[in-house]
């Protein structure tokens, strides 16, 4: 990459963020009402104060844990469904009929129904799982198509042991796409989980804390929590992309 491009890659995002903060600071100064729009500095202070708060860690990891569980289930389901669709066309057709229905489900209605049928914690996990599933399924289909029919035929002709085929040929071929999909999926998952926690009114979690902040008009604290969620989402997505890129680079 050219040196000029490298500088632009850093300078443009940095300037964009600086602009957003400048507009925010200006709007906050005009409003001059911390409850409606706190100043960036107040939010930053609240953000750093979060790290000294035990309650925050508890909520943060509860939400992260729930997201991970929901994600792991949808990830496994998506890959199993994509593999079955590839193997059995009939299953693929059936699943592709259900998928648009799942995609069209109104999230809030589903959460409310699930709260009636299960507990709020379970409701948050299931709804997140359902919303992420169609995206992960598409990603899983792309990942599996990395294992070409040609490679599979070559393995059959040369009687490559099934264990070698799965662990050394198919899995590494699928992994870069899968890891990249996992990064993007986890980030989306986290966002959805927070929304589901707010609607389902779980006993603990970042969504619950946001809801409490809204009730208590603690806007600066609320925005600090949003900061934490955004940064976590970005970190997870970048990590996924980085690992996938490193995997692809290794074989190029």
């Amino acid at each position: 990459m050219k040196k000029g491009n490298k500088i632009l890659n850093i300078a443009v995002p940095a300037l964009t963020i600086a602009c957003i903060f400048a507009i925010w600071a200006f709007a906050a100064a005009v409003t001059d009402e911390e409850i409606i729009l706190p100043r960036p500095l107040s939010v930053l202070k609240e953000f750093f104060a979060l790290f000294a708060d035990g309650e925050f860690y508890l909520s943060y990891f509860v939400t992260l844990g729930r997201s991970a569980i929901a994600f792991a289930i949808s990830f496994a389901l998506a890959f199993a469904a994509a593999a079955l669709s590839r193997r059995y066309a009939l299953f693929g057709r059936a699943f592709n009929t259900v998928l648009p229905l799942v995609r069209a489900l109104p999230t809030v209605a589903v959460v409310l129904l699930l709260v009636l049928w299960t507990t709020s914690r379970v409701a948050a996990v299931i709804v997140t799982m359902l919303v992420v599933l169609p995206t992960l399924y598409t990603n899983a289909e792309n990942a599996l198509s990395a294992v070409s029919r040609e490679t599979a035929e070559m393995c059959r002709v040369y009687r490559v042991p099934k264990k070698t085929r799965f662990f050394k040929i198919y899995l590494p071929a699928v992994l870069p796409n899968a890891v990249s999909a996992a990064g993007a999926g986890l980030s989306l998952n986290l966002k959805l989980m927070v929304a589901a926690e707010v609607i389902a009114a779980t006993a603990r979690g970042l969504g619950t804390e946001l809801n409490l902040d809204k009730i208590n008009f603690e806007t600066a604290h609320m925005l600090a929590l949003v900061f934490a969620i955004v940064l976590t989402g970005i970190a997870v997505e970048l990590a996924g992309r980085g690992i996938a890129r490193a995997m692809v680079k290794r074989y190029a």
């Binding site: 035929e153 070559m154 002709v157 040369y158 490559v160 070698t164 290794r250 074989y251 190029a252």
Partner: protein, 217 residues
């Protein structure tokens, strides 16, 4: 000896073979020629066990079959050495790589190999598998003439050493005349011409004449 007797194969209701018979003698290289859509690749895939057939029988199929596909089909995240180790032990792989002058490329991934180099690895893989029968599906297609000649020499040197049977699908009469002991032309699900290749030039002329007469008809 490989014997294909009264083979039947349909794609849906479309017949490819309705009563097709063919033999490949021990140590014989049989070239199969024919127009596009004659079922040449289908025939190889049936023999390789990749495609089911609807009737007839195939006798004398060895347990191991080597297959040089139209594309190289090397595992992209395996090095040359790892690709070859899928079919043979490390020691034999290195010996063969050394003989083929590919030793220094053992650690290369397929993406870093030239077209000719990766073709040679694919050919080597088929021979390293120690199969009494090798199937080849237009292995020298889309290559420039110089590379084609080099690869044909490479194939011929390995074939001379191993003495295995080969079923070789091609569009190119010169390739057939160069490498085969016998050539057949297939079409409409039947063997249209079956001739031994004793004299290269004569065989090439005969095969060319057949295709030309077919075109005039």
């Amino acid at each position: 000896m490989l014997e294909i007797r009264h083979l039947k194969k349909y794609y849906g209701s479309l017949p490819v073979y309705e009563d097709f018979s063919l033999t490949v003698g021990e140590g014989e290289t049989l070239a199969v020629l024919g127009n596009s859509g004659a079922g040449k690749t289908t025939l190889l895939n049936i023999v390789a066990g990749l495609l089911p057939f609807d009737g007839g029988e195939i006798a004398g199929l060895p347990e191991r079959i080597g297959y040089i596909f139209q594309s190289d089909r090397l595992v992209p995240h395996f090095t040359v050495e790892q690709n070859l180790c899928l079919v043979a032990e490390k020691e034999r792989v290195f010996k063969a790589l050394g003989k083929a002058g590919l030793e220094e490329f053992a650690g290369y991934y397929p993406a870093r190999l030239s077209a000719g180099m990766s073709r040679r690895v694919a050919i080597l893989r088929a021979f390293l598998y120690d199969a009494p029968l090798i199937l080849m599906d237009e292995p020298f297609r889309n290559l420039d003439l110089a590379l084609k000649v080099r690869l044909m020499d490479f194939y011929a040197s390995l074939a001379r050493e191993r003495k295995n049977s080969a079923l070789f699908v091609t569009h190119d009469v010169a390739e057939a005349a160069c490498l085969a002991d016998r050539a057949v032309i297939i079409g409409g699900g039947k063997v249209l011409l079956d001739m031994p290749v004793t004299d290269r030039k004569e065989a090439e002329e005969k095969l060319e004449a057949y295709f030309l007469s077919e075109r005039q008809e």
